[in-house]
C-alpha cells in the first residue's frame, strides 16, 4: 500500500529533526560544492577533446566527445609503459609501504602510550617529525649511503666501507622507495592508533586479567580489536597517499627507469594533457574506493565503544626486561627517520658551497647574512628577507585556519557518519570526504583555478583571494580529519548524548558540552596532520596564489631553480621549526581540553 502524503510528511519530518541527518545533508551539500563539482569536471574532461590534444592527434576537435584518451591509456602501443607497468609498480610499493608503516607506527604508538618504556615522552615528541620533513631528505640520505657510479658523482658510504659497488637493486627502485617512504608515512598510523589507545579504559583490560587471560591474549583479544578501526583508517591513508606520491618514487626510481603511476599523472599534467592523467587518477581512486568499501564491511560489525558514562582510568603495561630492547628499537627508528635527515638538511643550509661537507665551508650567510654581491647574487639570508617573513606569516595563518575548520568539519562528519550508520547518506558522506585525497594535488589546484576564476551566481570570483586557498586546502585535507573524526566518534557511547537529550539539552549544547570534548583527543591527529600538510603544501596552491597571498613553500621554487639549494633548504628547516612549534602548542592546548 502506498503511504499517504501525510504519513510521508510526518516520517520525513521525524527524520529531519534528527541532528545527524540535518548535519549529514548540510555536509553533503558543502562537499558537493568543494569536491564533487571539480570531480565531475574531471570526468567530463576525460571524454572530451582538449586543446592540447591537437598535438597528439591530427583528428582532435577540441570540445567534441571522444574515447581517444581511454584508448591511449588502456589499449595503445604505449599502454604497457604508461599504464600497466607503472600500475604494477604502484600497487607493489604502496602495499609494502603501508604494511611496513603500520607495523612501525602501531608499535611506536603502543610503546609510547601504553607502556613504561624509558624516555617515552622524549621519543613521542620526535615521532611525528618524519612526516614534517620532506620525504626527499630521506631519499637523499639514502643515496648518500648507497649510490653507485650509475648516477655519477661521489660514490656512497656503502661502497667506501665494503669496497664493492652497491648493487642497483639496493641503491635504486623498489627497495629504497619502500624503506624511505614507510619511515616517512608511519606517523599516520602512529597518530591515529595512539589517539585510539589513549581512549581505552584500563577496566577493559583488567576485566580480561580477572578472567585469567595472559598479557598476549589481552593484547590480541581486547586491545587489538579496539584499535582496529584506527589501524584500518591508517592503512587507507597510507596506502592512498603512497599511490599518489610522486617525488621520492621518481627520485629513487628514475635512475633504473622504475616509474609509478603517479609519475604518469604528474608528467601528463606538466605536458598539459590532463585528460590522460585524470584517467590514471581514476584508477587510483577506484582502487582506494575498493579498499574503503572493504573497510566499511569490516568495521560495520566490529567497532567498540570505549568512552562510556563510567569512570575512566589509564594503565600502563610493564615491559620488564624488554624495556631497554624497546627503547633501542624506538630510538633507532627515530634516529634513522628524523635525526639523520634533519642533520643533513640543517648542514646543507650551512654550506657556503653545496656538497662540500668540510668544516671550513660552514656559514650562516643563507640564514642571517646581509646582502653581499660576491655571494648568491646579493640575496640576503632568509631571516632578513621581508618577502619570506611575510610568506611565513601567510603560511601560518593559512595552516591554522584550515586545520581548525577541517577539524570541526571532521568531527561533524564523524558524528553524521557514525550516528547514521548503514544509511546511504552516511556512506555517501564517507566516500565523498575521501575523494580529494586521491585527486593529484596539481590537478585539483588546476580544477579550482578553472572553476573559481569566474563569478558563480552571487559568489564573486575567488581567484586571488586568501579564502580560495583556505577552501582548496580544506577540501584536500578533509580525509585526515574525517578519518580521525569517524574513528574517535566510533568510541563514544550513544548513551551519553541520549542522557543529555533526556534532560532536554539542545543539540548545540550537546555538541559543545559532550561530543566535542569527548572526541577532541581522538580528533587531534586530524588537526595535526592537516596543519602539517598545509604548511608543506605546494603543488595544490601554486596555481591559485597571487603575489600577495604567497606562502613559504612557493618561495622555494626560485632558489631551487637558481641552484641555491641552501636557501631552499633553510626555508624547509624554517617550516619544520614552525610545524614542530605548532604541534607542541596544539598538544598543550589539547591536553587542557581533555579530561
Amino acid at each position: 500500500m502506498v503511504p499517504s502524503w501525510k504519513v510521508l510528511y510526518n516520517r520525513s519530518r521525524y527524520t529531519l529533526t534528527k541532528p545527524h541527518v540535518v548535519i549529514g545533508i548540510l555536509l553533503v551539500i558543502l562537499l558537493t560544492a568543494l569536491v564533487i563539482i571539480p570531480f565531475l569536471q574531471m570526468i567530463r574532461d576525460t571524454a572530451v577533446w582538449q586543446e592540447t590534444d591537437r598535438r597528439i592527434s591530427r583528428t582532435a576537435q577540441p570540445g567534441e566527445w571522444t574515447s581517444f584518451h581511454y584508448k591511449r591509456v588502456f589499449s595503445s602501443p604505449l599502454s604497457l609503459n604508461i599504464f600497466y607497468r607503472p600500475l604494477l609498480h604502484s600497487m607493489m610499493t604502496s602495499i609494502a609501504i603501508s604494511l611496513a608503516a603500520m607495523a612501525i607506527g602501531a608499535l611506536m604508538a603502543w610503546l609510547i602510550v601504553r607502556t613504561d618504556m624509558p624516555l617515552r615522552k622524549t621519543i613521542g615528541a620526535f615521532a611525528v617529525i618524519p612526516y614534517v620533513l620532506p620525504s626527499y631528505t630521506l631519499a637523499l640520505a639514502w643515496l648518500d649511503f648507497f649510490k653507485n657510479e650509475r648516477i655519477g658523482g661521489a660514490a656512497g658510504i656503502y661502497q667506501y666501507l665494503f669496497g664493492a659497488p652497491t648493487p642497483d637493486w639496493l641503491a635504486y627502485g623498489f627497495v629504497p622507495i619502500v624503506i624511505t617512504l614507510s619511515l616517512h608515512y608511519y606517523p599516520f598510523t602512529y597518530l591515529l592508533v595512539s589517539g585510539a589507545l589513549i581512549s581505552i579504559d584500563a577496566h577493559l583490560e583488567e576485566a580480561g586479567e580477572v578472567l585469567g587471560a595472559n598479557r598476549l591474549t589481552i593484547l590480541r583479544r581486547v586491545t587489538f580489536p579496539i584499535v582496529l578501526p584506527a589501524l584500518i583508517s591508517s592503512f587507507i591513508l597510507t596506502f592512498s597517499r603512497s599511490l599518489g606520491t610522486f617525488g621520492t618514487p621518481y627520485f629513487l626510481g628514475a635512475p633504473v627507469r622504475y616509474f609509478t603511476l603517479a609519475t604518469t599523472i604528474y608528467s601528463n599534467i606538466s605536458n598539459r594533457t590532463p585528460a590522460v592523467a585524470y584517467i590514471s587518477a581514476f584508477i587510483l581512486i577506484l582502487i582506494s574506493m575498493f579498499v574503503i568499501y572493504t573497510n566499511q564491511k569490516i568495521i560495520g560489525s566490529k567497532s567498540f565503544v570505549t568512552i562510556a558514562g563510567k569512570g575512566f582510568r589509564h594503565r600502563l603495561t610493564f615491559l620488564g626486561r624488554w624495556k631497554h630492547f624497546a627503547l633501542i628499537a624506538a630510538a633507532s627508528a627515530i634516529f634513522l627517520a628524523v635525526l639523520i635527515p634533519l642533520f643533513l638538511l640543517v648542514w646543507q643550509t650551512l654550506m657556503l658551497y653545496p656538497n662540500d661537507y668540510s668544516i671550513g665551508n660552514l656559514t650562516l650567510h643563507y640564514w642571517s647574512g646581509k646582502s653581499n654581491p660576491a655571494l648568491a647574487e646579493g640575496e640576503t639570508g632568509i631571516l632578513r628577507n621581508i618577502q619570506i617573513l611575510g610568506a611565513a606569516w601567510n603560511s601560518l595563518k593559512l595552516s591554522v585556519i584550515v586545520a581548525l575548520f577541517t577539524g570541526i568539519i571532521g568531527i561533524l562528519i564523524g558524528y553524521a557518519v557514525v550516528k547514521g550508520k548503514k544509511t546511504k547518506l552516511s556512506s555517501l558522506l564517507e566516500q565523498q570526504s575521501f575523494l580529494p585525497y586521491l585527486i593529484p594535488s596539481i590537478a585539483f589546484g588546476a580544477l579550482y583555478l578553472s572553476l573559481f576564476t569566474v563569478k558563480i551566481g552571487p559568489i564573486p570570483p575567488l581567484y586571488g583571494t586568501f579564502l580560495l586557498l583556505v577552501l582548496v586546502c580544506m577540501a584536500k585535507n578533509l580525509p585526515f580529519s574525517a578519518r580521525s573524526g569517524i574513528s574517535s566518534m566510533l568510541q563514544v557511547a550513544g548513551e551519553l548524548e541520549e542522557a543529555a537529550t533526556m534532560v532536554g539539552a539542545s543539540w548545540q549544547r550537546r555538541f559543545r558540552k559532550i561530543i566535542l570534548p569527548l572526541t577532541l583527543a581522538g580528533s587531534m591527529p586530524g588537526f595535526i596532520l592537516t596543519f602539517i600538510a598545509t604548511m608543506r603544501e605546494l603543488s595544490l596552491i601554486i596555481l591559485l596564489v597571487t603575489p600577495n597571498t604567497r606562502t613559504l613553500t612557493t618561495m622555494t621554487f626560485r632558489y631551487v631553480e637558481q641552484g641555491y639549494s641552501q636557501f631552499a633548504d633553510a626555508i624547509i628547516v624554517l617550516i619544520v621549526i614552525l610545524v614542530v612549534g605548532g604541534e607542541f602548542i596544539t598538544r598543550k592546548l589539547g591536553k587542557r581540553e581533555t579530561f
Binding site: 558537493t32 648516477i151 658523482g153 555517501l428
Partner: protein, 395 residues
C-alpha cells in the same frame, strides 16, 4: 524513502551548480573587445612608429604597477633595477614553471579575470599555438630595437634570449671531450654512462629530441661518416633521429630528474669513470656556486654541439598595465653593452639575440656556435610523437 529523497536532493544541487558553472567554459573574449584594447594600448597595428620612452613612462606612471609571470627567478633582479630607473611603477614578479604560467593565463583569459600583463617563459610552441593564435597574447617589439634583432627573433614572437642544451664531460679525467659525435653516445663504451634529463618531466628536452628528429638527414649523414656505412633503421623507428633516441635508450642511458643533477654528477671531482651528460649550457654557472665542480662543455661535437631553445616575452590580452608592460619589456632587452635590465641574463650560458650586444664573458656568440635552433612549429607538430616514441621504448 528518506535516503531516496536525500540522494535526489543531492543530485539536484549538483546539477544546479553544474549549470551555473558550465556556461563560462571555453568562453573567450570577443575580437571586438581585443581590438579596442589593442587600440587603446597602442599595440599591434596601432603601435606608433617611434619608441617614445618619455611618453610611455608618463602613461605607465598612471598605471602604477605591472604584473609579470616569469619562468625565471631573475625577474626579481631586473624588477628591482626597473623600479629604480622608473620610480612610481612597482614590478610584481611572479616566478613559476612555464607550464603553470600557461595554465594560469588560459584560465584568466577564459574567465575574463585579467591579472598577468607580461609573460616571460620557455616552451615557445605552446605560446605560439595556444596563446598567440587565440589572441590571448601579443608580441611587442620596441621600434628602436627592430634593426638590431634578427627577423626570426621578432616574428611571430619576441625572443628575449636563447638557451642551449649541450653535452658536458668531466674535465679532471679528460683533458678534452672524450666524445666527438652524437653517435658516440650509442657506442658500448658509454653503456650506462650517459645522463639524459627526463624529457617527460622537462618539456625543454622534448624540444631537443624533436629537433634531432627534424634533422634526421644530417643525423644519417653523420652516422655514415662515423661508422662508414649507411644507417640501418630498427623496427619501429622511422628516421635517423628516432634511431638515435632508440639507441641511447638501448645503451641504458641514465634518466636524470634535473639539469642540476647532470652537472653535479658529471662534475664531481675524484671519480674514476665519470659519466657524460646532456644538460643546460647555463649550468656552467654552477661552477661559480660550487668551485669544486670540474665539468666542461664539449664544443666540438658533430653534427651539432647542442640544440637552442627560445625564451619568449609577450604582452597579455586585456592587460591592465600595457604601458608599464612596454616599458618593462624594453628594459629587459637591455642596451648595446648589455645594460642594467638585461644584466641578469648577461652570463655564461644564456645567449642574447641582439646583434649589437657582445657575447657574455667566456662565451661565443650565438652565430659562432654550431647548434640547431628548435623550430616551434615543428615541435608543436611532432614533439608529442617524439615524446611518445621515448615513452614507448623506455623498456
Amino acid at each position: 524513502m528518506m535516503m531516496k529523497k536525500t540522494l535526489s536532493l543531492t543530485l539536484m544541487v549538483i546539477l544546479f551548480l553544474f549549470i551555473l558553472v558550465n556556461p563560462s567554459w571555453g568562453q573567450s573574449m570577443s575580437s571586438k573587445e581585443t581590438e579596442e584594447w589593442l587600440s587603446k594600448s597602442e599595440l599591434g597595428r596601432y603601435e606608433p612608429k617611434v619608441y617614445n620612452e618619455k611618453q610611455i613612462y608618463e602613461k605607465a606612471r598612471l598605471e602604477k604597477e605591472v604584473n609579470i609571470y616569469s619562468y625565471s627567478s631573475r625577474v626579481h633582479q631586473f624588477g628591482k633595477t626597473f623600479e629604480q630607473q622608473y620610480p612610481g611603477i612597482k614590478v610584481n614578479g611572479f616566478d613559476m614553471d612555464s607550464t603553470e604560467i600557461v595554465t594560469k593565463v588560459l584560465a584568466e583569459q577564459k574567465a575574463g579575470n585579467f591579472v598577468a600583463d607580461i609573460i616571460f617563459l620557455k616552451d615557445p610552441s605552446t605560446v605560439l599555438y595556444e596563446l598567440m593564435e587565440k589572441g590571448y597574447a601579443f608580441t611587442y617589439v620596441p621600434t628602436d630595437l627592430r634593426p638590431v634583432i634578427p627577423a626570426r627573433y621578432q616574428k611571430p614572437f619576441l625572443t628575449h634570449h636563447v638557451s642551449l642544451d649541450i653535452l658536458v664531460y668531466n674535465a679532471e679525467v679528460n683533458k678534452q671531450s672524450p666524445v666527438h659525435t652524437l653517435w658516440d653516445l650509442t657506442k658500448p663504451e658509454w653503456k650506462s654512462r650517459v645522463l639524459f634529463p627526463d624529457p617527460i618531466k622537462m618539456p625543454e628536452f622534448t624540444e631537443v629530441l624533436a629537433t634531432l628528429v627534424q634533422h634526421s638527414d644530417e643525423m644519417a649523414k653523420e652516422y655514415q661518416r662515423v661508422f662508414g656505412k649507411p644507417i640501418q633503421l630498427s623496427k619501429g623507428s622511422r628516421s635517423a633521429g628516432y634511431e638515435w633516441i632508440l639507441r641511447i635508450l638501448k645503451n641504458d642511458a641514465v634518466i636524470a630528474g634535473s639539469t642540476n643533477d647532470v652537472s653535479n654528477a658529471v662534475g664531481q671531482p675524484g671519480q674514476q669513470k665519470p659519466p657524460i651528460g646532456i644538460t643546460a649550457f647555463s649550468r656552467l654557472r654552477d661552477k661559480e656556486k660550487n668551485p669544486k665542480l670540474v665539468f666542461d662543455v664539449a664544443y666540438d661535437i658533430q653534427p651539432v654541439m647542442g640544440v637552442a631553445t627560445e625564451v619568449v616575452i609577450a604582452v597579455i590580452n586585456q592587460a591592465k598595465h600595457p604601458n608599464a608592460a612596454k616599458l618593462l619589456i624594453r628594459w629587459m632587452m637591455g642596451d648595446e653593452k648589455g645594460g642594467q635590465g638585461y644584466k641578469p641574463y648577461f652570463v655564461l650560458g644564456d645567449l642574447p639575440v641582439r646583434t649589437d650586444q657582445p657575447a657574455p664573458k667566456g662565451s661565443k656568440t650565438l652565430q659562432q656556435l654550431n647548434v640547431w635552433i628548435a623550430d616551434p612549429r615543428y615541435v608543436w607538430d611532432h614533439g608529442q610523437e617524439t615524446r611518445d616514441f621515448w615513452l614507448g621504448h623506455l623498456k
